[in-house]
Symmetry: C2
Subunit: 250 residues, 2 copies
């Protein structure tokens, strides 16, 4: 297995490259449109074939690089199956592992940040790796106050699908805003200020309801744009069109 | 590979169990005398044979469980080869991998906390794992103001042997005092307050020289005791003898 953790600075998003060394097949989890050229160069340098882009959910904070990567490589575009759009090639569901050569990526249905969010679990000979998207972050978690968010659903997802994994499980989040890259199940059970120390569901819901967060900067074009696999939508507000279409490709 | 990250609360020490699933052979890196019974139970539960205890260095903050584990399992005791003592069975050196069945543990000479300190690197199919002992800690590093410490040597060790590894390398430290369990090379390059952001050698030396740390609680019996593989030494001060010998076994 080849594994790279990549970072996009404007939205503080992690993209993960996972490839099977033997077959040369690769996927990108949560690619970002701004870093498509970087990702293509890396695939070229490592002599890998991108077979698919895979989203954890319809992002509200950045446009996915899926459309652009497909246009330039011919890869498939995978989304949680609950999202219906003509641009999507593969619908992801829990219980249906996605195969990257000999590597199995196991989708885990983890609603709460959105109602369709999936995390992805890989079991290596040494450890389990979980890509938690915007469900569990390092000492934080995804917002539950927009799109189809639900604090109760997120609490259940994190406890039933993530905290139930072995303590040593490596947790790779969808974002970090403080220069951190990794955590473990054990570490979040201890240190996560919203969930750690055995916090109960109602405490978590109260914390999430009290966050008073700003309106997301890119949400008005990112959500409809990501429903179209990463194209700047016609419905984008005029003042956002410049930002939205800067990197349109393919 | 079977991998467990274990924690001893009095000295905040991580012990690592690493085993080869096929052969059932296991080692413990930096076992602690207070948690020997826990370690023996885990080996039994997992049906593993302890072939060796392996130290990163002669600890000053706890007694190793090596002597006690050998007495109860017949395992070998491995130390950096620079430490000479009749209780040691195996001398560890950089360039001479230690084999646990099919797993190779690669010693890296990393002086600075002590002049004989070694870290241990394992390359799995997915990632590299480095057990950094008291060289690099999470957002910290080992002290350089006692035993054979040297801030200059530690700076060189961290830069040449650890920060030169790929960004995704998993860093498992010898201690953490704040509930953290893991970091990566990339994360420490960004966030470590003594080393991150490209700090130069003189800055690091000035930081280490200015720490003004308290005298280590157990050092007077721990250092001579660990030179005897974890036996409370006759030279232990009277007021320490109770604390020192509580857990004497084997």
């Amino acid at each position: 297995m080849i594994f790279k953790q990549l970072f996009e600075t404007d939205s503080s998003t992690f993209t993960y490259l996972i490839a099977d060394r033997n077959s040369g097949k690769a996927v990108l989890i949560d690619p970002v449109r701004e870093t498509v050229e970087r990702d293509l160069q890396l695939l070229k340098d490592l002599e890998l074939t991108l077979i698919a882009t895979i989203e954890t959910h319809v992002h509200a904070d950045h446009l996915t690089g899926a459309h652009s990567l497909k246009a330039q490589t011919g890869c498939k575009i995978a989304y949680p199956a609950m999202i219906k759009s003509s641009c999507i090639d593969i619908g992801i569901k829990e219980g249906e592992p996605f195969e990257i050569g000999q590597i199995k990526l196991n989708p885990l249905y983890t609603p709460g940040h959105t109602d369709h969010h999936h995390a992805y679990l890989i079991e290596t000979p040494a450890q389990k790796l979980i890509f938690t998207g915007d469900a569990l972050l390092i000492e934080a978690c995804g917002r539950t106050d927009f799109q189809s968010g639900s604090a109760e659903a997120l609490y259940n997802s994190i406890h039933n699908k993530i905290f139930s994994l072995p303590d040593e499980t490596l947790v790779y989040p969808g974002h970090d805003y403080e220069g951190r890259f990794i955590t473990t199940v054990a570490q979040e059970k201890v240190r996560n200020p919203r969930l750690g120390g055995g916090k109960r569901k109602q405490e978590f819901i109260d914390i999430m309801n009290g966050l008073d967060l700003p309106y997301p900067r890119k949400i008005d074009f990112a959500v409809p744009g990501n429903e179209q696999c990463g194209i700047c939508p016609d419905s984008a507000p005029e003042e956002m069109k410049g930002l939205c279409s800067i990197h349109d490709q393919g």
